[in-house]
């Protein structure tokens, strides 16, 4: 039988994530109600599957939230905290990378992205980071664009 822990109900990152998923699923389900459940010919309509999937997702998320909150905080405290700032910084770099990928081109944008992340993970070797960023991004660009004709964005560089 679930009981509250001695420190009260457990509201943590997992509960927040489940709540976000439930909200998105609720919006998804609401939009699905704007689609037909059944076509005029009496067949399954475009809203049939999404309504079932969305409703189930909301229901299971709410069930999971209730269970987790009622389970209470674990004895012995939470597990070891991770490098959250590093992850947030990496995600921010990646967001900028997507924004500049086409304007700057694959080669320059990838080199800058790699340099930014290496500056976070390999701080003590700035020169090596520059060399690695330029070298690896050039090799990747050569392999994908020149070797395989992948059609990567060239940016301001002359098309090879």
């Amino acid at each position: 039988m679930p009981v509250d822990g001695p420190d009260g109900p457990r509201i943590d990152g997992a509960v927040v994530l489940l709540a976000v998923i439930a909200l998105v699923a609720a919006a998804y389900t609401w939009m699905a109600f704007g689609l037909e459940w059944e076509t005029r010919a009496g067949r399954i309509g475009p809203g049939f599957f999404p309504r079932i999937v969305g409703s189930l997702t909301v229901a299971l998320c709410l069930l999971a939230i209730v269970r987790r909150v009622r389970a209470g905080r674990p004895r012995g405290g939470e597990s070891e905290p991770g490098r959250a700032r590093l992850v947030v910084a990496t995600v921010a770099v990646l967001a900028v990378y997507v924004a500049v990928l086409e304007p700057l081109g694959a080669l320059i944008a990838s080199a800058l992205m790699m340099l930014a992340i290496l500056s976070l993970t390999n701080r003590r070797r700035p020169l090596a980071n520059v060399a690695l960023s330029v070298g690896v991004s050039s090799a990747l660009y050569a392999l994908l664009e020149i070797g395989l004709g992948a059609g990567l964005p060239p940016g301001p560089l002359p098309v090879v």
């Binding site: 990152g13 699923a25 399954i44 969305g54 299971l60 999971a64 991770g82 967001a95 690695l132 990747l140």
Partner: protein, 519 residues
């Protein structure tokens, strides 16, 4: 036998210079992928899939399958040398592999693992040659109701077996189904969830989601856990060392473990969700229980390494049976292969072996040849591949992220897909952190259209009545299986509670332990 004639034809079909080159390239790339912490077969396959679009389907799938089992063996190298499994299927290889390496026997351990993989791959190729046509003939009696239930059963099996938490596993699968509904409804042509984006009108492509969940998500998790801050202290292994090769005793200890692991692994591998990880762990338990000296397990027993290695390799062959004959992937890696098949215009299912025999038997034949190539490369290149594990993750991580982004861009030249990929990467990170099952999301994304279409067809056949699922013998059998999968975890938990010995009261104020809630 006709079956073996087909296998020989399949092997012959792969024996072209181009296909052999692709096979060798796939094995090499797979081993490099497997050796690198932070990438596994699923991520490697997802990232490489876009690069195979210009190849012939047979050549492309030969290369991807080679990457798959190459990555499995690459994971073994890190398991043995640095007690870091390259992926979950090689966890069992750490139990005795690393102790062997600590005793200065890394060379014999890795050579025996390579031989075990070869033997298992050979046995797997023979078994799949028999099992695949048999399963296809049974599956040819499947209609839309059975196919729909088979998809549901496959996903449920995955959720019950693979996930830390079944409720979160079910939510993971539903997320995949939801993603699969974006785009044009096949039945009526209506747009669903386009949000004004031309890219979303065509639906969410599998590749950005797979690369995001497995590639980017894994890298973000690795950074979060701090694994990039540790420099690996690698145990060295050199082919010129006197003790590089196994001794006679190693062969004698391991021969039956290889055979048992191969057969066990193949049949476990055919079960969706079970796959190589469960197979390798089961094999370890079996070998320990039948060993004359079980106390040596965990301290460097060769059978404790060879059994799981055989099992995980044979399981990759077993996983091909439901994939080829039913079109149902049992793991994230086979889901990527299925996505590749669909992109090349092939329809895995009961008719694949009849309508595209050169493709199906070519794939099966390539599995045998790939294992032979793995053995040859492994034995002489183990030290070289081991050196890849020395590249620190803090340097590899941004390179892998660049490969993920550019690989995704090459698919359709779409920046929106690169964005979707990174959003899925963040989702994959949180899924890992909180015990969800990214594999279920990916498999549901691939199977979602098939599930909806077969359900639609079933309703058309039955004039809208769900009774069709109860009127057909095969459907009833699958419904029974689904019911068993839903009920089994609760029954198992109840049995476990009954078997626990009653703890005597420790004092006047004894209270029962708090029951773990599985969320």
């Amino acid at each position: 036998m006709d079956v073996f004639g087909n296998l020989i034809d399949g092997i012959g079909g792969v024996l072209t210079p181009e296909n052999l080159a692709l096979l060798a390239l796939g094995v090499l790339v797979g081993m490099v992928v497997g050796v690198m912490p932070g990438l596994g077969p699923s991520a490697g396959l997802a990232i490489l899939l876009p690069l195979t679009f210009d190849l012939e389907p047979t050549g492309a799938v030969v290369m991807l399958a080679a990457v798959y089992y190459g990555a499995m063996y690459g994971g073994t190298i890190t398991s043995v040398l640095i007690i870091t499994p390259g992926e979950s299927a090689t966890v069992a290889s750490t139990f005795d592999g690393y102790p062997l390496a600590r005793q200065g026997r890394a060379g014999p351990a890795l050579v025996m693992a390579a031989i075990a993989s070869f033997v298992a791959g050979t046995i797997g190729a023979i078994l799949i040659s028999v099992a695949a046509p048999l399963t296809a003939s049974i599956a040819s009696g499947f209609g839309p109701p059975e196919l729909f239930l088979a998809v549901m059963a496959g996903l449920l099996t995955l959720i019950v077996i693979i996930g830390r938490n079944r409720l979160l596993g079910a939510i993971s699968a539903l997320i995949g189904f939801a993603l699969a509904t974006v785009g044009i409804d096949i039945g009526g042509g209506e747009q669903r969830y386009p949000f004004g984006s031309p890219e979303l009108i065509n639906g969410i492509d599998f590749i950005p989601v797979a690369i995001g969940l497995f590639g980017v998500g894994e890298i973000l998790w690795t950074l979060y856990s701090g694994a990039h801050e540790k420099d690996q202290q690698l145990l060295r292994v050199r082919a010129r060392d006197r003790d590089f090769w196994p001794r006679r005793r190693d062969w004698l200890e391991s021969r039956w473990a290889m055979l048992r692991g191969s057969v066990l692994g193949f049949f476990v591998g055919t079960t969706p969700g079970a796959g190589a990880t469960v197979a390798s762990l089961m094999s370890y338990s079996v070998e320990k229980s039948v060993a004359k000296e079980p106390e040596r397990f965990g301290k460097g027993a060769m059978a404790g390494l060879v059994g799981p290695e055989s099992a995980n390799n044979a399981a990759t062959a077993g996983a091909m049976v439901p994939l080829l004959t039913l079109g149902i992937p049992g793991s994230a890696a086979t889901a990527v292969l299925l996505a590749g098949f669909l992109m090349w215009g092939l329809e895995p299912g009961p008719l694949l072996m009849d309508e595209n025999p050169e493709f199906a038997w070519g794939l099966i034949g390539s599995m045998y040849l790939g294992n032979a190539m793995l053995l040859a490369l492994n034995v002489f290149c183990i030290p070289l591949f081991a050196s890849f594990a020395r590249v620190p993750l803090r340097i590899l991580a941004p390179a892998i992220l660049a490969v993920c982004a550019l690989g995704t861009y090459t698919v359709n030249g779409s920046l929106v897909e690169v964005g979707i990929m990174f959003v899925c990467g963040v989702l994959g990170f949180f899924m890992r952190k909180y015990g969800f099952t990214p594999a279920a999301t990916v498999i549901a994304l691939v199977l979602g259209p098939m599930a909806e279409e077969t359900l639609r067809q079933s309703m058309i056949i039955s004039n809208g009545s769900f009774g069709i699922f109860l009127e057909r013998g095969l459907s009833l059998a699958l419904l029974g299986l689904i019911a068993a999968l839903v009920v089994l975890p609760f029954v198992a938990a109840r049995l476990r509670r009954r078997r626990r010995p009653a703890t005597p009261p420790s004092g006047p104020s004894s209270t029962p332990p708090r029951e773990r809630i599985g969320v």
